[in-house]
């Protein structure tokens, strides 16, 4: 549909001189943004205004003002089709990987449709496409967490399957592990199986902070004794041969020795970390040693 914008006087976009950090805009940008901001000032909520925000977002997706204005417009349009709005959003998301206005906007639209009326499965393809491009995209994972929470998807097999697949593809994808922690520990019933699951993943790749943080995270959250992990830690070190396949095993062992009041062994672990297996944190390991000695 063609719209007539000839009656709108565009606002000036930072024309005053001298000016610091002045952007010399292209004529196209000046025209689109100038008219868009002018319409916004007049609080015009119309289809032509909506179209102008589409053009504006194509120019610059991170222009938050355009998104706010667009939301005000659709709130004021009768019989607006929120589903087609979600479809349009998807294209913008794919073209703008790092953008995050769009995910907040998407939440607003879904809220508008109503949580009782919306099938969250509809969000799967776009999230999958986005995480395919960047498997650690923080905005997309945050959105996914919001979705799980709002639609109470803690028991969703599909969701567990998805996050397991992501971990299968890259066991060092920390975003996936964080999502899993949120998903699985809504209650206590998964604790045992998750401990087994993460231990398996640690054996697959022992030098991985994500999995060790997950494991220790479970023990802390549910108040379990990490001394139970002693035998498991020894799978990754042979101290007689001075062979270590995970610095995190050394560290966990140090914590276990402290609980067992075996100060000497704990200090030995921290010293190995400090001198050989993790020297960038030498000051931190020294600090740990000092807390044992005092």
């Amino acid at each position: 549909m063609d719209f007539d914008y000839s009656d709108i006087v565009p606002v000036d976009l930072n024309t005053e001189t001298p000016q610091l950090c002045q952007i010399i805009y292209s004529d196209e940008y000046k025209l689109i943004m100038g008219k868009l901001l002018s319409l916004m000032k007049q609080k015009e909520y119309s289809l032509r205004a909506l179209n102008l925000t589409s053009l504006g977002i194509e120019q610059l997706a991170s222009h938050y003002t355009t998104w706010i204005y667009r939301y005000d417009i659709i709130n004021n349009l009768p019989n607006f089709d929120y589903y087609s709005e979600l479809d349009w959003c998807e294209q913008i998301a794919l073209d703008n990987e790092k953008n995050y206005q769009i995910w907040n906007y998407r939440q607003l639209i879904i809220e508008k449709i109503g949580f009782d009326n919306y099938d969250p499965i509809r969000e799967y393809p776009i999230m999958e496409a986005m995480l395919d491009g960047d498997n650690k995209n923080h905005h997309v994972w945050s959105f996914r967490k919001w979705l799980v929470e709002k639609f109470n998807m803690f028991e969703s097999e599909k969701e567990v399957e998805f996050v397991s697949n992501m971990i299968e593809l890259d066991v060092k994808n920390n975003s996936a592990w964080c999502h899993r922690f949120f998903l699985r520990f809504n209650n206590e019933k998964n604790v045992k199986s998750e401990i087994e699951y993460v231990k398996e993943k640690i054996e697959l790749c022992p030098q991985n902070a994500s999995t060790w943080n997950y494991l220790i995270g479970i023990f802390e959250k549910f108040d379990l004794e990490i001394t139970e992990l002693k035998e498991f830690c020894f799978k990754f070190l042979n101290l007689d041969d001075d062979k270590v396949s995970s610095s995190f095993a050394l560290e966990t062992l140090a914590k276990i020795y402290i609980i067992e009041d075996d100060k000497e062994s704990a200090i030995r672990m921290y010293t190995l970390l400090k001198e050989k297996y993790d020297p960038i944190r030498c000051n931190y390991w020294n600090f740990k040693i000092s807390t044992i000695e005092n």
Binding site: L20, N173, P206, F287
Partner: protein, 433 residues
């Protein structure tokens, strides 16, 4: 315009574009003013003797990154700091007209001013009277109805809390207190209009997270407009944002991240009055562990999340927490030399000035400011006093003698502008209390 002058203009244009964008290091040796670092660094890139046979996207990009870093580290014998070149870069950036591609920064006008002016002040470069007037003009163009509707990221745009943060810090950097005094009560009402039960929306219909909370806390503390009503529910919400890993996420149950962790811990120093209170409000040990874990054995610099690549902006987002965590724990915890090596050797553009995220990238204002802010943190020594009379623990930071061989200003770890600017501002807004 004659053809000749047109051509000269064009050449000038091209020159500043090249300067702004930066370019890859040339293997040309030219004499430049630089500060050579006198004391030998006792840090070297190091690969721990742990064999990792697993392969995935993460390990491949990590390995490639190490190769690039190994090139950078092998080229340079001694670290150098090209202060004058950075000052030139910043002045050019501040006073140039940018080509149309810079429209990507069109919602970030107040941020551009903050990044550039803060960097200049850190480098102890004088901000002239004329420049101060232009800074004020630019920021004023983003203040909506004297602050009634907040401060935006650009003229005619809508109020945004993070844009307001950058705007207020810029005005404090140029000591524009009269203007700040005029708008502060309106800003307070604007914040109240964005308040939710537990935080603040970034803007109308916007998201609320640790970042929006940090920005509101910083502005309202500096301008002395904090009230109990404004703060209600905030601290409980922040506590929920600490994750099982130890760092903070944007909202509850999201992945811990350097930027949000900085916002989280800095906020506690605004909300609380003693080190002990901070230590016991959160899981301090796990925060400590997560924070020191951001530093790479081979890289020296910080990443922002577990199993991600190092990026110079975390030199401040994580670096800023160094004085905070070390003062509270009263112990040395981080390896500053590694960070200094990463910033100066891998991220410095020594031809045209400015800093990059990681080798291969282009310079930008954002990374320049946060790399310099990180350098400032490790070059200066801090003390954190608990003063009964202070409104919050954050005001207790002071600089003590550091080695500071780069002769760089001393950034405040919580307010993210030089300490003397914070103190001047405090004197103005709290002086008569």
């Amino acid at each position: 315009m004659s053809n000749n002058s047109k051509r000269n203009q064009k050449l000038k244009d091209i020159n500043y574009i090249i300067k702004l964008l930066g370019r890859k290091r040339y293997p040309i040796i030219t004499e430049m003013t630089s500060t050579e670092i006198s004391n030998k660094s006792n840090w070297k890139p190091y690969n721990p003797p742990i064999k990792d046979t697993y392969t995935s996207l993460t390990t491949v990009s990590q390995d490639e990154f190490h190769k690039v870093l190994s090139d950078e580290y092998s080229q340079i014998e001694n670290m150098k700091f090209y202060k004058d070149i950075h000052v030139d870069y910043l002045n050019v950036a501040l006073n140039s007209k940018y080509p149309s591609g810079f429209k990507s920064l069109d919602a970030n006008h107040t941020w551009m001013i903050y990044w550039l002016v803060n960097s200049l002040v850190l480098l102890k470069s004088e901000i002239t009277k004329d420049t101060k007037v232009l800074v004020r003009d630019k920021i004023e163009s983003c203040i909506i109805d004297d602050g009634i509707h907040g401060i935006s990221g650009g003229r005619n745009q809508i109020g945004h809390v993070a844009s307001a943060y950058a705007a207020i810090l810029s005005l404090i950097l140029i000591e524009e207190y009269e203007l700040l005094n005029r708008i502060k009560d309106n800003l307070y009402n604007w914040f109240m209009s964005l308040k939710t039960d537990y935080g603040f929306r970034m803007h109308e219909h916007g998201e609320s997270d640790t970042r929006s909370i940090y920005c509101v806390l910083i502005i309202s503390t500096l301008l002395n407009i904090k009230t109990e009503e404004l703060m209600s529910g905030v601290i409980e919400n922040l506590k929920c944002c600490q994750t099982f890993e130890g760092g903070f996420g944007n909202v509850e149950n999201c992945e811990a991240h350097g930027g949000y962790t900085y916002c989280g811990i800095a906020s506690f120093l605004i909300l609380l009055k003693s080190k002990n209170a901070v230590k016991h409000s959160i899981n301090f040990d796990s925060l400590l562990y997560w924070s020191v874990s951001r530093q790479g054995n081979y890289e020296g610099g910080f990443n922002g999340r577990t199993n991600k690549l190092v990026d110079s902006c975390y030199s401040f987002w994580i670096g800023g927490t160094i004085p905070i965590l070390e003062s509270i724990e009263e112990n040395k915890l981080f390896q500053n030399d590694g960070l200094k090596n990463y910033i100066l050797t891998c991220c410095q553009n020594d031809i045209n000035g400015g800093f990059i995220d990681k080798p291969g990238r282009k310079v930008d204002f954002y990374h320049t400011n946060y790399a310099l802010s990180g350098l400032s943190i490790i070059e200066n020594e801090y003390v954190l006093n608990e003063n009964e009379s202070d409104d919050c623990l954050a005001f207790g930071f002071d600089v003590s003698d550091g080695l500071n061989e780069l002769d760089i200003g001393c950034i405040h770890p919580v307010f993210a502008i030089p300490i003397e600017k914070v103190n001047e501002c405090k004197e103005f807004f709290y002086g008569n209390d």
